[in-house]
């Protein structure tokens, strides 16, 4: 096996180079804001732009609404699925794959066609944007919650709690949800990371969100986009690194898989 290790190192280094060279280059590029010297001028410009805070704030609000709506919809459904109708699981699992068949661009197109004119004119309302985001983040939330429920003995816990006299409310608030804490946190961070920088839906539904703002920056400026890219990567790193740290013990391999924002 010894001779193989050299080749393994080669592949690993190649991979690490592919990952890190663009990041390092982007960082260097972002420091070029002032001619001749390295400086953080581009970052200062980004933070000084009132549109930066405005669009970021908008996307953050949409992301929080998405998390709230997504969890409210999917957590009870998944618990119900595990406890009452395990037979329905394959059906729900097909639904978790559908956002892959219907990528964001098609979803946006369909939502506009369907809800642009009466009887249901929703295009002007952020409800439609958040609904679309819930659909996009649905596979991530479902997988996290499903993995969290599998990791605990839901049936046993339910029976134990009920034989001790707990009602449904107590069972949910004091037994099931505390055990799901890690799964809920990881679903939350992943959804935040995906929604905040999302371009497709926000762009096609014409909202002043962070994704379209970044794309606009890319057209007008040279160094600020690189700074935005580093800031955005830092946020993604932070959010997903946190999830990985949280789920390390649970070995939740599904949490990172996905293609939401491409």
């Amino acid at each position: 096996m010894k001779r193989k290790t050299g080749l393994s190192w080669l592949w690993l280094l190649l991979g690490i180079a592919y990952f890190f060279i663009p990041l390092a280059a982007t960082f260097l590029f972002s420091l070029r804001g002032k001619k001749g010297v390295f400086s953080f001028v581009a970052y200062a410009n980004v933070f000084a732009d009132p549109l930066f805070l405005k669009t970021f704030g908008f996307s953050l609000r949409m992301a929080i609404l998405t998390v709230a709506a997504g969890l409210a919809l999917i957590v009870p459904t998944t618990i119900w699925l595990h406890l009452k109708v395990p037979k329905a699981r394959p059906v729900v699992e097909i639904f978790t794959l559908l956002p892959f068949v219907i990528p964001p661009i098609i979803l946006a197109y369909g939502l506009i066609r369907l809800y642009a004119k009466p009887p249901i004119a929703l295009v002007q309302s952020p409800v439609l944007l958040v609904a679309g985001y819930v659909i996009i983040s649905f596979p991530y939330i479902y997988r996290s919650v499903d993995a969290g429920l599998r990791a605990m003995d839901l049936r046993g816990l339910t029976e134990a709690a009920q034989s001790l006299g707990a009602g449904w409310l107590a069972l949910m608030l004091r037994v099931v949800l505390p055990n799901l804490r890690t799964a809920l946190l990881s679903a939350t961070f992943l959804t935040l990371a995906i929604v905040i920088g999302e371009l497709t839906l926000a762009n096609l539904l014409a909202w002043p969100a962070f994704g379209p703002y970044m794309a606009q920056m890319g057209r007008n400026r040279a160094y600020e986009p690189a700074a935005l890219s580093i800031i955005s990567f830092g946020l993604t790193w932070g959010a997903i690194g946190l999830i990985q740290a949280l789920t390390r013990s649970g070995r939740d391999k599904a949490s990172g898989i996905g293609a939401g924002a491409h």
Binding site: K84, V85, A131, I240
Partner: protein, 309 residues
Amino acid sequence: MTALAEREAAGPARESEPGPRAGHPRADVKRSLSWLGLVPFFLFAFAFMLLPASSILVGSFQDAEGAFTLANLANLFRPSILNSYIVTIKVSATTALLGGLLGFLIAYAITLGGLPKPLKSFMSTFSGVASNFAGVPLAFAFIATLGRMGVLTVFLRTAFGIELYDAGFNLYSFWGLSLTYTYFQIPLMILIIEPALEGMKREWREAAENLGATSLQYWLKVGLPVLMPAFLAAFILLFGNAFGAYATAYALTGGLINLVTILIGAQVKGNVLHDPNLGYALALGMIIIMTACILAYSWLQKLSSRWVK
């Protein structure tokens, strides 16, 4: 949390007699009642996913007045549109192959390649982050790296005298886009294929060696046949992943590359074509390809799970 509240209100009454009793008429009623708990979820998915998608489906068989027609589908074979499908398929296949191969080799290196254990969890964590680093920020990163004034472009020029752009490279066309997509394809491949590689049992290799097999024979007769379904499934997932991508290409090329997603986006914003029904047909073609991908993926997954538990 309305769905939760609703279920809690309905819960205790149904829970008074736990446990399924097949054949008993009351149990049957109860079981069909328990499907009701899934109604809010299905209603939501129906309203904001299935209905919009079906409306595209319907639209692609209608003309501007709403009458039935096959003309939109026929128009898909116009040279400019056919070309966008060909470009999209080429980009998707190239990046799935490139990202798939590199990702597979890296995943192999960190699982079976004899590297120190901590590297594996580091790479898994990093893949989780990198596979989600896509869209606009990724496009900017590649512009900063390989654009005309990019750090790597300038470095190659000053250090080695290599003029990338004179040599025919252009970040804003096919190869530039493919290199950019490969950035998220590699980590996605690592995440998907890692479990399959971990399922390769040491005993298989030992058994093969005890029977006198060489390394090559082991791979040809055991390793590759076992891994092939998982590898193909991963390839298809990467292909679909690239096929549906919009944000990265939009931010990188400013919407100037002839991809199906870019054409659809331009159509929605009313920039070109001026023929909504043709837009629906474009979207329909995309849904068909994505559906074929996901069906093939599920089938291959089933094949591969025979070995990988």
